[in-house]
Each structure stands twice: as C-alpha cells, then as structure tokens.
Amino acid sequence: MGHHSYEESKKLVWKGCAVLGAVTLVEVFVSLLQKGHVISGLEDVSAVVIAAAVVIGVLSIYKAYYIIYNFMHMAHEVPGLRMSVLLPTALLIWGMIAFFQEGASWGERRELIKEKNEVSSEDAIKPQGMLLKKIETEKLQ
C-alpha cells in the first residue's frame, strides 16, 4: 500500500464498488437475455447462447482480477509472490478441458446405451454380416 493518499484510496474503494456492481448487473442482464427473458425467442438461437456464455465468463474473470488486484492489493506485491500465487491456477485450464471433455463423453455413451436399449429383440437377433451370408449360401445349396 501507500502509492495513493488516504483521500485518493478512499475514492478508489468506492470506484471498485461501482465497477463490481455494474459488472454484476451487466452479467445478470446478459444471462436473462440468453434465457429469453428480455427478448423472447432468443434462447433458441444457439449463436446468441454461446456468445452470451462467453461474455458472462469473461466478465466473471474480470471481476476476479479486480478483486485480487485492487481489493487484495496483489498489484502492490512483489512479482515472486504474485507469480507463486497466480501461476499454479493455470493448471485449472487443463483441468477444465480434460474434465468437461470427459463429461461430454459420458453423456454420449449414455445416449448410445439408451439407443441400444431401444432396439427391439427381433432386430437384435436378426443374423447380420458373415452369418447372414452363410445362411444364404446354405439355403442355395
């Protein structure tokens, strides 16, 4: 601390309050827009849904940055402290990619099993491929 005068830093705090509040309001607005509460029918346009999700995500990361750098005074810490706290969280990027992909794969398998379960038993035991060929040639003989 100590770059700003007392009066200046007091002002900065209320500015921070306004920034975080405004960003939160924008996030809620975009979320309601995405769900079709502001303009109905928008929730069916997948481009809007994806774009809104990206906007909300980026704004949340901005809020996180603002809290860490201004409220927790990370901006005033030495680079070594800053890096030793912030760099490890980069591991989470890989964590998200790996686990979200894994989750989507579980979902696909669940759908596949559901589809297979719906196949009727008659269809399932109908001879296929090589077996079918063998039966047909046997019939011909």
Binding site: K10, V13, G16, G21, E27, S31, F71, W106
Partner: protein, 332 residues
C-alpha cells in the same frame, strides 16, 4: 515502483547478511504469505468442486434451468428470475468494500474506524447467510429438493400438458417447448384450490388443485403408495407422493414428468454449503478480530493492524469464490 527500489538495496547486501535471518523474501510477513498460500489451496478445492459440476452437467442430456429454479424471493415474490441471488451478490460485494475500508483505517492506526467498518462487514456477511438460509429453506421445504432428489426437470420436446381429467389442456401456459423447466409438486391433500384469493390462478395451479382433489376423493393411503406409483387420468402419483403431470408431445408420444438429473441437488447443496460455511467461519473470525481491535490488542502491536489485513484477504477470497459459484449455478 516501491518494490523495485527496495530490491536495489538488497543487491548491495552480502550473501551472509541475506542468510542471517529476519529477511522477508516476498516483502510480506509470514502470516500474510501463508494466508495467500492457504487461499491458493482453497481455490483448488473450490475449483475441483466446480469442475466436477461442469463435468456432470456436460454428461447430462438436460439440466435444470437456473432462471426457473431460482426465481422465488421472500415476501411472496414468484417468477422473478435471479433477482434474489443478485441481491445476495451485492451484499457480498458491499461487505468486501467495507472490509477494504477497515484495512485502510488499520494502516492509519485508526482504531474506531477499523471497528466501525469491520462491524459493517459482519452485518453484510450475516445478511448473506440469512439470505442463503432462506433460499435453502425454500428449496428444501417448499420445492422438496434434497441431496438425492431433484424435482426440477427439463422438457426435451414440444408438446402440451393434460388436464387432471386426462383431456388435452387448452391453456397457453400448458404448452411447452424444449429447454423449458418444470417443478414436480408434492401432493397436498389440504389444498382445495380456494386459498389463493387475491390473484387469478395460473394454469399450473388450476391443474394442481384439480389433481389434489382427485387424489383426496380416491382415498389414497399416502403412507403406502405402491412402488410403481398410482395411475390417474392426467397424472401419475409416484411412490413418494409427487404428482407427475402427463403430457403429449407434438410427435404424439404420451409421457409423464420425470425428476431431473439427480446430481443437481447434491452439487448445489454441497458447493453452496461449502461456500456458506466459508462465509460463516469468516463472520466468526471477523467478530473475534473486531473485538480484539476494539480492545486495543492490535494497536499495541504497532504493525498497521496486520491481523485485519489477513482476515481481509480471506474475506475477499470468499467474495471471489462467490463470483464463480454465481457464474456456474445461476448465470449459465
């Protein structure tokens, strides 16, 4: 930068002086540094939970729609999506702001200022906990969501509901399309549909009143519903006493409402509960440190109220985690 000029002075020191102790490698006290590292580990715990939530959500064909699930607020407000949680977010942001003010007053060694702003922070934290208690109570007692039961489902087709007597409903609100959420209600035999008084009944309330009347008149033993449930013309009564409304899709398929993905309840209560527990312990520590500050303990230490700074770091972190809990549970 102040950090750079300080670094220059270090260069002139001999190795021996550097190893003689009493040096702070990161220009931060031991306590503050360890608070930062505790927060890093805590961030990974929360990230693990939130990533698990994401993985399970991606694995599920449908997921409860947050703007439908979280649309009630105190004082009988219904159908107001996300309003209450936005208010809760503002409470946390405000309490974070008052915390920064407390730390600033601490640097000026202003004891009264520290206690005053910490007191406001405690009020904000307690207010948040009260809101969360209301939200949980509403979900558990009114909407019957538990760790293992999720009555919030989502439609995957376009279609229309049946009335309680099995006829096709003609109410506009009874038509649905993919992605629309529904809540499966528990049967209330004391509900005769008359008590809504001042407002016109919605299509769903009309249906529920008729369904409850049908169940009451057919003398169902609510304690011993068969495992397969009971079949009525326009709905099913399942083993646990929930009314699963029947519907017909535009493709002509007849079906009944099913519970939503089971994991939702456990994830919601566990993650928001873990965050709420952080807020609770934060409030307890804030109170202890506020009382200590008021008693003059930190003034005697003459270190710019460093203890207030440390609890401040923790408190901002709780706000920081809420940013992401808010993101995944309510906004997306």
């Amino acid at each position: 930068m102040a950090a750079n000029t300080a670094h220059h002075e270090d260069v002139h020191e001999t190795t021996e002086e550097l190893w003689s102790g009493g040096k702070q490698p990161f220009k931060a006290s031991y306590g503050k540094l360890m608070m930062w590292y505790f927060l890093v580990s805590d961030a990974f715990t929360f990230a693990g939970f939130l990533i698990a939530y994401g993985a399970l959500r991606f694995s599920s064909p449908t997921w409860p729609v947050p703007d439908f699930v979280f649309s009630t607020a105190p004082f009988g407000i219904h159908g107001a999506p996300l309003i209450f949680v936005t208010f809760m977010s503002f409470l946390l942001i405000l309490s974070s702001v008052t915390m920064v003010r407390a730390v600033q007053e601490g640097h000026r060694e202003n004891q009264r200022g520290v206690v005053f702003w910490m007191f406001l922070t405690v009020i904000g934290g307690a207010g948040f906990l009260a809101c969360q208690a209301w939200e949980w109570n509403n979900l558990i007692t009114k909407e019957c969501m538990t760790v293992t039961r999720n009555p919030f489902g989502t439609h995957t087709d376009t279609g229309v509901y049946l009335n309680a007597d099995g006829s096709r409903s003609s109410a506009a609100d009874d038509a649905f399309k993919p992605g629309m959420g529904y809540l499966i209600h528990h049967a209330h035999l004391d509900d005769h549909g008359g008590g809504h008084g001042d407002h016109e009944m919605t299509a769903e309330e009309t249906f529920l009143a008729a369904a409850n009347a049908k169940i009451a008149s057919s003398n169902v033993d609510m304690e011993n519903i068969p495992e397969a449930g009971l079949d009525f013309a326009g709905f099913r009564l399942n083993e646990e006493g929930f009314i699963q409304r029947k519907f017909i899709t535009d493709a002509g398929v007849a079906a009944a409402q099913e519970n939503g993905p089971k994991a939702f309840g456990a994830l919601f209560f566990f993650i928001t509960g873990f965050h709420g527990f952080h807020v609770l312990s934060g409030v307890v520590f804030l109170i202890i440190i506020m009382l200590n500050a008021g008693g003059g303990l930190y003034a005697a230490r003459k270190n710019g109220y460093e203890m207030v700074e440390k609890i401040g770091l923790y408190w901002h972190f709780v706000d920081l985690v809420w940013v992401f809990v808010f993101l995944v549970f309510y906004l997306l």
